[in-house]
């Protein structure tokens, strides 16, 4: 009784939110309704006794896929006026495709035959001695291991392909190389100079010394700041002009 009520409540919310996904004017609201639909589907799985599938549905679809949807939809600036612009021009094409799909569906539904063994399958009780997590594991990883591995491989290829197609290496980005940072020694970066009092840095030729190629890798933006040298001098030069630093 309570299960039946719960089933109808969750199904009603599921259908309602699924309808809102396609009718909602705001794309972000659409995605949020989609998430609500996922939740109610998970609840239906729970009622059917498939607690593992329910949790995996929430983890994979709500926790990962829908987050990415939401990211994309929120960052996109969807211009509805531009979207509606070509409506009349494309309407005949859309209608034709819709009609074709409708007749295809209709032909499938009319030719639908229910196997004689089906009612028997539906009536068979769930085995009580095996949890459904274990049952799914057995089917996926033991009976159909080859197909499972193949689909994994296809997904991997698709992922690599997507990265290859979209990844652009921008050379303007400055990355941190932690190994190189830690290998830096004081001698590589700091020059201690003994200089005459009241001698300008330009006069001594150390105003902006050229980077030493054997010490600094070519890609590093080598900078010997005046400030760095200046700090070393700070102790010696008592009465340096303010403008120098």
């Amino acid at each position: 009784m309570i299960t039946a009520i719960a089933f109808y409540v969750f199904s009603a919310i599921l259908l309602g939110s699924a309808a809102m996904v396609v009718t909602s004017r705001n794309p972000v609201h659409s995605v949020l309704f989609l998430i609500l639909a996922f939740f109610n589907a998970a609840a239906l799985f729970l009622i059917a006794g498939a607690e593992f599938l329910a949790m995996i549905l929430v983890i994979v679809y709500v926790g990962a896929v829908a987050v990415l949807f939401l990211f994309v939809v929120m960052m996109l600036d969807v211009d509805f006026v531009a979207l509606r612009e070509g409506f009349q021009r494309y309407a005949p094409v859309g209608a034709t495709v819709g009609v074709v799909l409708f007749f295809e569906l209709l032909s499938v539904l009319l030719g639908w035959q229910i196997s004689d063994a089906a009612p028997g399958l539906r009536l068979s009780t769930m085995p009580t001695n095996i949890s459904n997590t274990r049952a799914i594991g057995q089917v996926l990883y033991t009976n159909y291991i080859l197909l499972f591995q193949l689909s994994g491989l296809i997904l991997l290829v698709a992922m690599v392909g997507a990265i290859v197609l979209t990844h652009r290496d921008r050379h303007t980005a400055r990355r941190q190389n932690i190994t190189r940072q830690q290998e830096r020694r004081v001698a590589d970066t700091l020059q201690v100079l003994q200089i005459r009092n009241r001698a300008g840095v330009q006069e001594l030729g150390i105003y902006r010394p050229k980077p030493m190629p054997q010490l600094i890798p070519a890609e590093a933006p080598a900078r010997f700041d005046e400030a760095e040298v200046g700090h070393e001098l700070g102790g010696d030069v008592q009465d340096h002009e303010a403008g120098e630093h």
Partner: protein, 284 residues
């Protein structure tokens, strides 16, 4: 206020309840109000499956650890919705940073959970605690314990990974537009999540309600509470000790260090259990 300032939290509670909730112009009203509630409710929901003593849980379900993982992966919605509904670019940028961070560290937490499940052979949290009656998992699984503790900090957006709110450089990140009780709900949710993560760490690695050294005359619920307090101490200890991570370092640590490490450890655990014949049969 009061002796040792003990009444201050109560005064703060009264204060946030009586302040005005300001909804910014152009904000999506219903979502704006829903986001903090969602954050807090999700943080509380997760407690349902934590066993406080042998079999004492609100819901001692078969897939308890998956339920916990599912609930913690939903936490990101409260943040993203808050950032978007505020209709402010600062809140939105804060939400994006925070969401990317939480999604990244969830992956390594997932692999840590899988290697624990592999050792126990069950998804029930009570079974996981029972499996630690001889040795707590923090000893044989020490690298995963460290990965879990650090990912836990990132997942709850606490220091040194508190970039989303980073109070010394930003003004509160994703909840910059929130005030009064809706603001307080975010903080309540964050602290509830911290205690929840501490409870999860104690259940997975520190033996949950199991008493160490045969001190069974102290009830399990006290032991679990003590262990939660120890992990909470770790939270505050880290906060007081380490400087904040930079964003690229955070992403590097999550994807280039923790993810391969936890994957490798998972494979090693599976090999070890298979070749020593220790692989648990699990419930039929």
């Amino acid at each position: 206020m009061g002796p040792f300032g003990l009444w201050q939290p109560f005064a703060d509670a009264v204060k946030v309840f009586t302040k005005e909730t300001i909804i910014p112009a152009g904000a999506s009203r219903s979502l704006f109000l829903m986001a903090p509630m969602l954050t807090f409710i999700l943080a509380c929901l997760a407690w349902a499956v934590i066993p406080v003593n042998d079999g004492w849980a609100v819901a001692n379900i078969n897939v308890g650890i998956l339920y916990l993982f599912a609930i913690s992966s939903l936490g990101v919605y409260g943040i993203v919705i808050a950032g978007w509904a505020s209709n402010s670019k600062y809140a939105f940028l804060g939400a994006m940073r925070s969401a990317a961070q939480m999604v990244s560290y969830e992956v390594s937490i997932g692999f840590v959970l899988v290697s624990i499940m592999l050792c126990v052979g069950s998804l029930n949290l009570n079974d996981i605690v029972k499996a630690q009656s001889h040795v707590w998992f923090c000893f044989p699984m020490l690298p995963m314990f460290v990965v879990f503790l650090i990912s836990m900090l990132a997942e709850t957006n606490r220091a040194p990974f508190d970039l989303p709110e980073g109070e010394s450089e930003l003004v509160a990140g994703f909840f910059v537009e929130y005030s009064a009780m809706s603001f307080a709900l975010f903080y309540l949710g964050e602290y509830t999540n911290m205690i929840m993560m501490s409870a999860l760490a104690s259940v997975l690695f520190l033996g949950g309600w199991q008493a160490p050294l045969g001190l069974t005359f102290i009830p399990g619920i006290v032991w679990l509470f003590a262990k939660i307090c120890v992990v909470m101490f770790f939270f505050f200890w880290v906060r007081a000790t380490f400087p904040r991570y930079r964003y690229d370092q955070l992403m590097r640590l999550g994807w280039k260090v923790f993810l391969p490490l936890s994957l490798l450890w998972l494979v090693l655990t599976a090999f070890f259990l298979e070749f020593t014949g220790l692989l648990p049969a699990g419930p039929a």
